[in-house]
Symmetry: C2
Subunit: 341 residues, 2 copies
Amino acid sequence: MATIKEVAERAGVSVMTVSRVINNSKYVSQETRKRVEQAMKELGYVPNALAHGLITKKTHVLGLIISDITNPFFTTIARGVEDTAIKNGFNIILCNTDEDPEKEERYIELLLRKRVDGIILSPSNCNKNNGISLILSKNVPLVLIDRCIKGLEVDCIYSDSFSGAYELTKYLIGLGHSRIGIIVGPKRISTAIERVKGYRKALNEAHISIDESLIRWGEKYSREDGYINTMSLLKMDNPPTAIFGGNRLITVGVLKAIRELRLKIPEDISVVSFDEVEDISVTTPFLTVVSQNSYAIGIIAAEWLLKRIKGKDKPLDPPQNIVLQPELIIRESCRALEEVR
Amino acid sequence: MATIKEVAERAGVSVMTVSRVINNSKYVSQETRKRVEQAMKELGYVPNALAHGLITKKTHVLGLIISDITNPFFTTIARGVEDTAIKNGFNIILCNTDEDPEKEERYIELLLRKRVDGIILSPSNCNKNNGISLILSKNVPLVLIDRCIKGLEVDCIYSDSFSGAYELTKYLIGLGHSRIGIIVGPKRISTAIERVKGYRKALNEAHISIDESLIRWGEKYSREDGYINTMSLLKMDNPPTAIFGGNRLITVGVLKAIRELRLKIPEDISVVSFDEVEDISVTTPFLTVVSQNSYAIGIIAAEWLLKRIKGKDKPLDPPQNIVLQPELIIRESCRALEEVR
DNA sequence: GTAGTATCTGTTAATGTTAACATGCTAAAG
DNA sequence: CTTTAGCATGTTAACATTAACAGATACTAC
């Protein structure tokens, strides 16, 4: 590939002049600018971002680490991040951790090697860990999404799992349900913990004693987890009358299991979901859910990160938690229970 | 951030020795290796991939350009690409074009600036264009996915739109349908063209004259396109008895429109889809579809690209088209028509 | 004993770009 | 007529790393 030097030779100027043309410096005469541009076109010159980044110490790349792009929730966040990144002249490297803390750490190191200007992370572990420490020690701007980390002073954008789960559970209790199965992700992920906390609070407030066997922690917030745990919940001696899907993938698994058991929603079993299942809510809107604006999470996260990047030298204002309130959308997947027979 | 030079000083060796430790050269004594590793750890040294790439002319990054990560079809491809990239020590920069050829061109230039080792592209235009020419002129390995480009000698991995659409249409004709609406993407995208071709062939073979007003070209393969065109098709004086959704997003729009019109599938209207609508097929498998293995497309595309990258100097074997056969899955969304009343 | 080979380490130059400074030139201001 | 300012260009060094070569040492083979 042609270099700036070759362009300079062809145009009969110094490399510095070419550099000035590339970077739109005003100290280039009309005439030389034209000559240089001509030479660039003839050679098909494409600037080398590696050399540029090496010297300017800026790459205009953001790292985005999420658990799985196959999950539309994260995909929509990614879209929000990308759209605002592009708008600001940045682009993104995308990484899937599959909720694996080790994979997450490897990716963090990789992004740091590439000298990304900042990182947006959905941590697969709610404790401070090596990966995060590494980012902070290198003074690379970091924004967390969807999940927080205990006692860590970092910007974090997420929707309120606790109150969303509380609302959903309270709604079920209001309909007369007292045996409510809940299926969430792994215990090390903050959203799973918070959603179970919200669930507990609603039951406690209603003075319903909590049957721990109704609380199911999955391995990775997956359809399989939803399916397997629903099967097992519904085959209990004293099965729940309602099931709370901890995220959209789990909910899909729940629905699959219920269908295979030939049960009817809501006649035989009530179902609620944390987060929409988009295609289903568009084609047959029957699920009662708590809905999050994931696109907004992506946009806000990117905006904050860019702000931190731009103000890296300035005295930085303290990190913030930005909590979006999810919205309860009542549809037709739950029935009111008669008084206990 | 610490540099190799600082590590060298701390360990009391030359930078070259440190470089050797980083790159696992065998010509380093046990003892110095240990000292260097100690120094690296103490300084929290993270190698600079920019400088490395600048000199080795390899970045171990692949560019992946698709139309929209919000579409699970592409997302699954992306997952396949990423998984095999990682396995081979590569990672990916992801770009969304939204089917906009101009955006596509900008992204191509950007990836070339970053000196990616290769590009996987789902072109938003079935003609050869500036972006593609630029890639080829720079001798950067390129693999196309999902969509081909006329008369271009490049590896291309896709599923057979023509025969998939043919099968689906033939199936509907076999059930007695002759007025079949089809909604696809824009006319400049090869999958849209091929799917309509397959549709035409099936009708021609059955000696059914084609009503051009039943063929709808959308703006970008979106839910909205599916919705609007279904509405308009079903409000025709002589509406179709079956609708063919040109991809999964369009199909979701089709289903939404049908639901809003309070029509029943398949009693009032039959529906088929090119590609699965995953969440729906898992929870309520009723849609008759032609199903593609998008994860495989991603894996194969990445494998081919890596092969091209590794064999860049070798005499390259000729580019190949790898065509995956989609699978017809008959479920319950179509009914047999009685003879014309 | 000498040549040859393998191991370990270092020096110098190169990668493609920009930052910082330097050098002329022209035109305006005094 | 000199000084000053602004414009247009060039020169040199720097960014962090590796390639290519060059020594130095130690061991092996004849």
